[in-house]
Symmetry: D2
Subunit: 344 residues, 4 copies
């Protein structure tokens, strides 16, 4: 069996979650998220953000979180601005458009939007004949494993407020972003520097589940109607509440993310030592090294990973992902096998 | 703490599921339902239906299953025929209409559609100005706890095929239907007598999850695109596969349902012995007795249940639901407390 | 050739419209409704409503007007309350549901909603699981040719404001309503007693065209984006502006409607004199007499009309419609032919 | 009053249309396109395409035609491939996305798609996570006034059929395309080289109206339901039928287009003689010359036109459009005024 560095959702969940599910199994609870575990989890997230006024909703997956937010926040003629590589633009099977909204995108080699990239979408004419940009979608960390700095996020949010745009952060890997070595944002900062975001559980130790956090009060009204209407409200909402309650106990989610980042850095360092380049600067648990096809072929005998992009006729950029559950030995073994390919 | 007869999703899941989740937790698996547990579960469902050609998809909840099916099977101008009490018509927050389709409904006091009720929706004129009925939605067991007999289902499906209508069965409580005392349908029968159906897990021992089963080959194409687009494809599809794999091992799901039905019958018998009437004939794990308000008030001190419908100024129909996890002692205690209210 | 009493859109348009189209044909104008004729027509409508703050938009047809209003005014989970016979519920091919919204309807034999009928739609539970009623749709005159009195409309609008509901009036035949003998509403009254309405041109002398009038300022924002997005913004908006400019010059639209009502009353009187009953009280240009099948058969040799509803095995209710263009002789001839059938 | 070269919809319609509207005004006709004029117009279009099996539907505008076709032809997860400059991608206020479909676009400086540009949209992965391209949208003539040759169109359609893609042609200015000097396509060719197209009336002498022509039989079923549902079915369909009946009598539509092209060529020749460049090669009635800002400023005192694109700090590309109704004197005067600006 080859070891998979394919993604951060190849394993189950942190054992503490299974324990808590077992321990609470027979307690009768109200349905649809009105259980005591969900209430506790909401409180813990508010506390972590130091903001009691946050609206928190647990849903099953990232595409679901994204489509819910867009469907709820936008009027029919309003559009979303995103990086070309934004998950909603590439790998959600048209989920956003299926709710009726255009995504307007800009090429962004490192997966990050800037005020300049956003500005060009505001210059359309004539009025009423084009869509009206209303929500800016960014991912942190991005689909390329990169990070927004505090300064960058502040600049984006300032631009948004100056232009009546909402800022939404896809946090499928938010825990990785906030525990990365180069990160200078806290969860509290982040929750103040956007109108809404979600905290990914699926890729950070949960079996499934994302926590949508809405800070802009105008966007909080009746959000649960949307959750129900889009089929995202679990009867046994406890199964989501329990997971986030565990993940937000004693910083578990951040510890798991920090560990994945550390192993990602270990992988990156190995590539670096061999003088290899990266498609994008490695900052989190996703690493995109550029390797010769001969090396890729060799490694593929023992490991699974995505061949992300053809660089030239002899090399490709790979995507290697470390998860919360990746054993350090697997990383070490990979590095050893990599080094064994050199000198070519 | 009052004991809840509110619904069949107040508890967690059957412990065998938690065991299997724990046991498989660290095995690396492919994402999005391509894991070995999901594949095994699909095979077990096909085997239980004695039909290898069935298309099976696991999703998180009933509203999600319903909206996916309607969005996938219908053209924009096609409508759904349902009983007025159909879950899609009452308690899914307009999920079907949100995918663009009208629900055309008929009052049906026992929650069951008939060819006669369906026929009147086919008489509209003029062509092109009305919607075009295309899919018939029924629930088995129904929202009122009642059952379709084999003869009734055959009549419905014959009518459907004669009128170019698709038949879809909402099986949120299908296991209860198929194990009810008065039932004469097998899973195999049922899977032949409709175009698609879903097998509910959430209300029959799973933490969450429903299995959509598509028998009509013309409807199978590209269904996974819909699943992804509507945010219903879990990255860790294993969490659904494992649950159905366990539920379809040694008839577990049907054993759990049979037990719930048996306790439902025990409750019903107690009401009957006191000479009380029912809103609808008790056939499964949902019982709708008509009680004097004074008795209701007394019982409400110890138990939670829905006051379903006002019957007259002195009495109401309640909904009492037994779940897979309801202890028999809770039922016995309730019966004792009920009897203690009589003679009034 | 049989004479048609089928509807009020069997002929072209009032000749004054063709004259104005001809006379202005070569004048270069801005597109998309920014032409001087549209601007003049908007002013005339505001003047007729004695309200300079009204937002007015010209579109091509009634279904278009209705779907635009619902798509623009409602959030995804909000529903529309209507009479069962409401045009949006029966003869718009699911146009409202195609914009994502459920229509909740009540049977109303005379086609008119009441606060009581509306109230029952507000009692649903539990919250978040049902749709949330938000807009009340009525037609004046109704699909059955009946009228709302000022008192009735006031009661509806009071109920709406007390319950955070919007009131929208489908005015496909508004000119007929406001010029009916039993009417006690002015256009000014009506425009104050709802949040939005449309004034039908198609059925009152225009070639096509309806004027959507939005009085609630909160609903006016960006409406033109919706018009464009739904394909309802004509490049040569002048063709709509010119028609409404002519129709609102010297009360033309109301004169045409009054004439149609007068001929409708003449028809109704003839039925009444023969002792015939009506499906609904004849108040405008639509008359629904109940006739024996033998008489219907005889009349059908010379005239076209809809057989609206089977009353019993020997009789049916017809729908007879008089248009702005129906010659009085056609009505007189029909009455003569009708009387010739009696005594049977 | 400045003369407008802004677009081809600044005037009314060809006088023969007004005459026919007047002449037929009082004839009673069936509604919704079942009138004799619409039937005659359909026959004339079939004859012009030499194909009796074509399905023809008249609607009011181009955005309406486009959104109808996409909504009718596509399943929810299927996308549209277009040039970045495609009208649906830029100037339809998100109408296509509002029907639920993603537009995938490629930059194309001359507004024309090629098999190469289309091919890159077919390479996405993984399956089910991306949208599935299904319909290719092109405009002829394009938004940049350019043309597809027969060879180019054949290559596109061959590519489409090889890849299970549908080809749809936006013919807002189809008459101009087919009468351009460099055109080598007949209407018959074109109708064979795609699955559906529309023939624009609004920009070629009609007051409003486009004729959707569906050649692929599999796409013809029930199209009228879509027309009704999207609010595009006029009660007085005669007003569309009469216009197309007139436009397709004695080649009127093509004569009008040829004349507009001839005046466009006259304009282009004047720019060429002054040594001016063009944004795209002038081939039809839209001309995009690059002019110094000083000249633009001078011309803007007498004429209206769009400043289409900034070329450098001293010059811009204009869009000048000649309509069927532009007097030759207006063109001559413009050329004279242009020449008077030189030498600078």
């Amino acid at each position: 069996m080859k070891y998979k560095f394919l993604n951060d959702y190849s394993e189950g969940c942190h054992p503490a979650i299974l324990e808590k599910l077992t321990q609470t199994n027979y307690a009768q609870q109200s349905g649809y998220g009105n259980d005591e575990y969900s209430e506790s989890a909401v409180e813990k997230i508010r506390l972590a953000c130091r903001n009691e006024a946050l609206d928190v909703h647990f849903v099953s997956g990232g595409t679901q979180a994204n489509l819910l937010v867009m469907a709820a926040f936008l009027k029919p003629y309003e559009s979303v601005i995103a990086a070309e590589s934004g998950h909603i633009n590439t790998h959600e099977a048209g989920a956003i458009e299926a709710t009726g909204h255009k995504i307007e995108y800009s090429p962004a080699p490192d997966g990050k939007l800037t005020p300049e990239l956003m500005a060009k979408h505001l210059l359309k004419f004539p009025k009423y004949h084009t869509v009206k940009p209303r929500l800016v979608y960014i991912s942190n960390s991005t689909e390329y494993g990169t990070l927004y700095t505090r300064r960058e996020l502040e600049a984006l949010y300032t631009f948004c407020r100056e232009n009546e745009l909402l800022l939404f952060i896809d946090g499928a890997r938010l825990a990785m972003a906030l525990t990365a070595g180069e990160n200078d944002l806290t969860l509290e900062d982040l929750s103040r520097l956007c109108d809404a975001f979600y905290i990914g559980g699926t890729k950070c130790g949960a079996l499934f589940g994302e926590a949508i956090v809405i800070s802009n009060p105008a966007l909080q009204t009746d959000f649960r109607y949307h959750v129900k209407q889009r089929g995202a409200m679990l009867a046994k909402g406890r199964s989501l509440g329990i997971q986030f309650d565990v993940l937000f106990t004693d910083h578990l989610i951040f510890d798991l993310a920090a560990r994945a980042n550390r192993l990602g850095a270990k992988l990156a360092e190995a590539f670096r030592q061999l003088g290899l380049a990266f498609l994008t600067p490695p900052q989190t648990n996703q690493v995109f090294p550029v390797l010769p096809d001969t090396v890729i072929q060799k490694l593929a005998e023992q490991y699974e990973f995505f061949e992300w992009q053809v660089i030239d006729e002899n090399s490709k950029a790979l995507r290697l992902v470390v998860s919360w559950a990746t054993p350090e030995e697997a990383v070490d073994r990979f590095i050893q096998d990599l080094k064994a390919c050199y000198p070519l």
